[in-house]
């Protein structure tokens, strides 16, 4: 260091060289050092991604694909889907109802005629792993939500730019399966199946989650006080709607968490932000990741003006 100082001082007349020295020395600390961190993984093999969201009174669909890896293997479709065996087991039965692959739409399917989901019954997803104890997620089909009342207030209608803007406050008093626990998926629609925009939640805001990939809201019933959902809704239509059709679904915890995760991911699909979305998979085996969940919807119509 001392030698450097001596040399530096003696280079009085060599301004250019001194300039260069200053740049190269002080530039030292401008360079941040970058290292590539290893990402641990049991193997570099791709896995299956299984997304099975069941809806009561509908066919059961399971989307199964291959995951990719960080090193550049792209996620992709199953090459030979017929070789995979997936099934849904009802209750304590030994055998389940097998999925069939729908080649046209690229998903696995069980028609509702083959398996009609029953409220209160337990169902298992089989085929995502080798060890049944650890790789068969189970769920209980939730009951339909019971809505005691829907109250409309502060209904306004204005015309702007050729569109009718309708805004209102909507209070939904419901009864869940148990007083404090339950997850919901709420979709406010008009009679023409147009979706109302949820402008604000007026109570228990941490209970609500707007989704980016699906219509409507996710609601954590445990955080809703007095079992009353209060929303401010707005819609711009050609003609003012006459009805609010409230599609309210009682959902399993896995449904809520996976869609919550999906919605967070959707806003930043790169997942490069510092607050990464934490994956919500209840299928996590050496063979597969994914989600197995269920929702039970009911639609409640409400006339806006009596």
């Amino acid at each position: 260091m001392l030698i450097f100082i001596v040399i530096f001082v003696s280079l009085n007349h060599y301004r250019a060289i001194r300039h260069l020295l200053v740049i190269s020395i002080l530039g030292f600390f401008l360079q941040s050092c970058v290292d590539v961190l290893p990402v641990p993984s049991p193997s570099d093999d791709k896995k299956l991604l299984v997304i099975c969201e069941m809806s009561v009174s509908h066919d059961i669909k399971a989307e199964v694909s291959y995951t990719g890896t960080l090193s550049g293997v792209k996620p992709g479709k199953l090459e030979v889907p017929d070789t995979f065996n997936f099934s849904i087991v009802e209750g304590e039965k030994d055998f389940g109802v097998a999925f069939r692959y729908n080649a046209r739409d690229s998903f696995f399917q069980i028609p509702k005629s083959n398996l009609s989901l029953r409220v209160g019954e337990t169902y298992k997803f089989r085929g995502a792993g080798s060890n049944p104890n650890t790789s068969e997620p189970t769920l209980v089909i939730p009951d339909r939500p019971n809505v005691d009342s829907i109250t409309i207030s502060e209904l306004t209608s204005t015309v702007t730019g050729g569109k009718t803007i309708t805004e209102m406050v909507c209070s939904v008093k419901y009864r869940g399966l148990t007083p404090d626990v339950g997850y919901f998926h709420l979709i406010p629609l008009t009679e023409k199946k147009e979706t109302w925009e949820v402008i604000a939640f007026e109570k228990d805001h941490q209970a609500y989650k707007r989704m980016n990939h699906k219509k409507g809201l996710l609601i954590d019933g445990a955080r809703v006080k007095d079992q009353t959902i209060k929303l401010r809704l707005r819609i711009a239509t050609d003609v003012a709607p006459e009805y609010l059709y409230l599609d309210l679904g009682n959902a399993t915890e896995a449904y809520y968490k996976y869609n919550y995760f999906l919605s967070n991911t959707y806003t930043d699909p790169n997942q490069t932000s510092e607050n990464q979305a934490i994956a919500a998979f209840n299928i996590n085996t050496p063979k597969a990741y994914g989600t197995f969940s269920a929702v039970n919807f009911v639609s409640f119509p409400k006339k806006l003006k009596d």
Binding site: M1, T67, F201, E274, Q276
Partner: protein, 882 residues
């Protein structure tokens, strides 16, 4: 002497008498009086009867007194080095109402009948630096026997009631020569003391004895000595008070000071940083590498980590209380420093001698002079266009006016600015890939304070201030393909804004009722305006489409909210000295928001100290509330963090702090100790996951912000030598800090990202000579936490990387060695100091940040990268003071 028969018997008798008398005379003249024997004796709170026995044994004197009458159980404290026995007896007997008389060879102790005085009188006044007139905060004022004492308040004022009799008073302060004053306190008296600084050239004080200079407080507080801050190993030649605080136990940062201080598991926004009583919102330049405070202007610095007194409120975790110097009232002085990254000048002096002074300091980096050229050159090497630039400066000025003997007015201002610009473009044929960034942030603070001595025992401080922090950031990633038939333009642009403006009015009263009760009461009104804003857009958000986006265009599209809030704090605290070395500080702080109900909060505070000469034990419990939040995107405390007021949707943060500690020290300056703490946090906030979160009036953004809780606990241990030519400090901290949010990490608990499980810091300073010092610092900290992905991508529209858990991995440990030498030189006109050293001497790549980077050519390929910031850095600075 020859006796013969011829002399006769009578002659013999005479001769014998003469001999005897001569012998007696010789022995009398040659013998020291018993009360003039010099003795060395020290005791602390010992019974008088035992003290008398020990003193008699040491001195060999014959002390005569009635054991049944003398107050033998009265506790005595005395420290004598080569003092006359008589003087020592005067001091220890004085309080007992006794004195001694020399009777022959004996010292007879008897009650003083001449003193029939009852009641108390009060001595009061100011303690200041004799040369500069600077008032000294926390100077010690105590009786020789240490039975009573006090310290000066923030205005250098003290007030001490004493019995009406003789006293010997000690006035002392670290770095100054102790002054002893003998008084007969028959009536209330003003005693203003000027302490003379120890004449040292170096910044490190060589103390032979620290017993008098240091005192313990009930709070878990560290009072930091300015000499050590100035002498600490400097990054780029800049001594920095916040970097020094980061070397204390229980205090961590992200790598290299980035992001502010995390104290006992709390986050950076939870520290109340005050400059002369005014809160400062963002205290750093260069993302935390330097603080905005010019260390040369700092007079005192205290860090409260627990047992926080009731007069402090508004933040959740700690208090950093900084006071600046007032300026030399007697002489003009100046300083200039040139270091590797900045130039700094300061000047101070009397405007009217002994009545008005000013102090001003200015610092500016000169990196902007060459950084633009350097980055342009580097970009050309990478076949890119464009350059970067970085600049910071700060100015601190204070005017100090003694309106009268009892009133003082201070006017103060602080400005700090940072600017970072970056524009880089890569051209490949018709394809243009451009990144533009413009980040600027800064603080402005103006204050007026009136200190008023209301009476002999009462003091008032009135403060009015404006403090504001502004941050704005514009970034644009543009991708353009030019050529016929039309251009293709894609861009991702964002505009961040975070501004807080606070108008405050504060009134404080100190009542020094007695030596065992000091009461402080006061109130603070704070009116705040917040301007948060986050806007993210891309080309699809503009109809009709645009091909050029600028900061002004985004500002036009933004609809950022302005949120007002007002808060009132009222407090009362009583510092009680119960005797026997036991003190308690008990208080209450009550805060409420004037525009919102339901945010009222009663915050009890209590702390206890039990101490002897060599030992202390303290324990404290503190309740705190913080009526604002700082949304931190990554926990790194970047200036892009957004300040928000508490609201019905985002309620105030609350915490409980508990602390207990034990310590030992001796006269030679050795100290060891340990402390444990526990904290709980409620209603804290965070960005939501996957967040590119918009904050504007068009969205219900507040409802998207997760609210959760947390806790932290830990153990700190330290060993220190703070006197002599060799100084060292070792401290170790074990810390756990976790958070839990229903909306984050699937509701599971996760570690606070910036917590360091183990932290070991060591500093060593050796005075080579009067003109040089050698300094070594070494720190080892466990790695921060980060979220690590698994080796899986899934198709959710486009490949997405999977993170199974939040903060599930740790960086490698951080460790760094800094070495430096300081050389001093004295001249007729002043002093010069040359510092040379190495920061990060073994060039450790300490990690501070991770980023997941997608390969542009294969969007399924990712790299998970770790960034390190400061490699081996030579540090040089040259300062002159005159």
């Amino acid at each position: 002497m020859i006796l013969t028969k011829q002399t006769g018997l009578s002659d013999l008798k005479g001769i014998i008498v003469i001999v005897i008398l001569l012998t007696a005379a010789i022995s009398c003249f040659g013998q020291t009086r018993p009360d003039e024997v010099l003795i060395d004796y020290t005791c602390y709170q010992k019974p008088l009867k035992q003290v008398l026995k020990e003193i008699a044994a040491i001195s060999g004197a014959n002390l005569v007194y009635s054991e049944s009458r003398i107050p033998g159980n009265k506790l005595v404290t005395v420290k004598a080095k080569k003092e006359k026995l008589g003087d020592v007896l005067n001091v220890i007997l004085d309080d007992a109402g006794y004195s001694y008389q020399l009777v022959g060879n004996q010292l007879v102790l008897a009650r003083e009948t001449s003193k029939n005085l009852s009641g108390e009188s009060r001595i009061y006044g100011y303690v200041k630096d004799k040369k500069s007139g600077e008032l000294l905060i926390g100077a010690n004022v105590f009786l020789h026997d240490r039975s009573k004492g006090t310290i000066t308040n923030e205005s250098g004022f003290y007030s001490l009631p004493l019995p009406k009799e003789n006293h010997r008073l000690h006035f002392s302060y670290l770095g100054y020569k102790t002054v002893l004053v003998d008084i007969l306190a028959l009536k209330d008296s003003v005693i203003n003391i000027g302490l003379e600084p120890d004449g040292v050239l170096n910044e490190i004080l060589i103390l032979d004895d620290v017993l008098e200079e240091e005192h313990e407080e009930t709070a878990d507080v560290q009072n930091l000595h300015i000499d050590k801050i100035m002498a600490s190993n400097h990054l780029a030649g800049e001594p920095d008070v916040l970097r020094y605080i980061a070397s204390q136990p229980g205090v961590t940062t992200a790598a290299d000071g980035i992001g502010g201080l995390n104290i006992r598991g709390g986050s950076a926004d939870q520290n109340l940083v005050m400059l002369d009583g005014v809160p400062i919102y963002n205290t750093t330049h260069a993302m935390g590498i330097f603080s905005i405070f010019n260390s040369a202007a700092i007079k005192s610095a205290s860090v409260y980590k627990g047992g926080i007194p009731a007069r402090y409120a508004g933040r959740l975790s700690s208090v950093i209380d900084l006071h600046t110097r007032d300026g030399n009232l007697n002489k003009w002085h100046g300083d200039a420093t040139l270091s590797t990254v900045a130039v700094k000048v300061s000047a101070e002096g009397p405007l009217i001698s002994d009545k008005a002074s000013f102090i001003m300091s200015y610092r500016r980096t000169f990196m902007d002079v060459w950084i633009r050229e350097y980055t342009k050159y580097r970009n050309k090497e990478k076949k890119q266009e464009g350059s970067s630039n970085y600049f910071f400066n700060d100015i601190n000025a204070k005017l100090n006016i003694h309106i009268s003997k009892s009133s003082r007015l201070m006017l103060q201002m602080l400005h700090s600015n940072d600017l970072f610009e970056n524009s880089t473009a890569a051209l490949a044929g018709e394809i243009r890939d451009e990144v533009d960034r413009d980040l600027r942030w800064g603080n402005k603070m103006y204050s007026a304070r009136l200190n008023n001595q209301l009476s002999k025992a009462a003091f008032a401080r009135t403060t009015a201030y404006l403090t504001q922090y502004d941050f704005s950031s514009y970034t644009n990633n543009l991708f353009e393909i030019s050529g016929s038939p039309s251009n293709t333009v894609a861009f991702d642009a964002s505009l961040f804004q975070s501004a807080v403006r606070e108008l405050g009015f504060r009134q404080d009263f100190d009542f020094m009722l007695s030596s065992s009760h000091t009461i402080k009461i006061g109130g603070l009104y704070q009116k705040r305006q917040f301007k948060p804003g986050v806007l993210n857009v891309n080309e699809e958000d503009f109809n009709p489409a645009i091909s050029i986006v600028t900061k002004e265009i985004l500002k036009g599209k933004s609809n950022f909210p302005t949120i007002n809030a007002a808060e009132v704090n009222l407090y009362a605290e009583d510092l009680m000295k119960l005797g026997g070395g036991v003190s308690i500080n008990a208080g209450i702080n009550y805060s409420f928001q004037t525009d919102k109900s339901g945010f009222g909060s009663v915050q009890p505070r209590i702390s206890l100290l039990a101490e002897s000469e060599a030992l202390h034990f303290k324990v404290g419990a503190t309740r705190l509330q913080q009526n604002m939040h700082l949304l931190s995107n990554n926990g790194l405390g970047f200036p892009s963090d957004v300040w928000l007021p508490a609201s019905n949707i985002l309620p105030p943060q609350k915490s409980w702090l508990f602390n207990a500690g034990f310590g030992m020290r001796n006269n030679a300056g050795y100290k060891v100790g340990t402390e444990v703490y526990f904290k709980s946090f409620d209603q804290i906030t965070s960005y939501r996951e996957g967040a590119n979160q918009d904050i504007n009036l068009n969205t219900d953004w507040q409802s998207e912000i997760p609210v959760g809780e947390g806790y932290a606990y830990g153990l700190e241990a330290y060993a220190e030598k703070s006197a002599g030519k060799t100084l060292f400090n070792f401290n170790y901290t074990y810390s756990v800090s976790d958070r839990k949010f229903a909306d984050l990490n699937l509701g599971r608990k996760f570690p606070f990202a910036l917590n360091r499980t183990h932290s070991l810091k060591a500093s060593f300073t050796y005075r080579l000579s009067e003109f040089s010092e050698f300094i070594v610092n070494w720190a080892y900290l466990s790695g921060n936490y980060y979220s690590q992905p698994i080796n899986v991508t899934v198709d959710l529209g486009r490949p997405v990387v999977i993170f199974p858990e939040k903060n599930n991995a740790k960086f490698p440990p951080f460790h760094r060695l800094d070495v430096g030498f300081s050389f001093y030189n004295a001249f007729k006109w002043g002093r010069a100091k040359f510092f040379i050293g190495v920061y990060n001497a073994y060039n450790r790549n300490n990690p501070f940040y991770t980023e997941l980077v997608r390969d542009k050519e294969n969007d399924s390929r990712f790299e998970f990268r770790q960034f390190s910031l400061l490699p081996l850095l030579p540090t040089i600075s040259y300062s002159v003071s005159f």
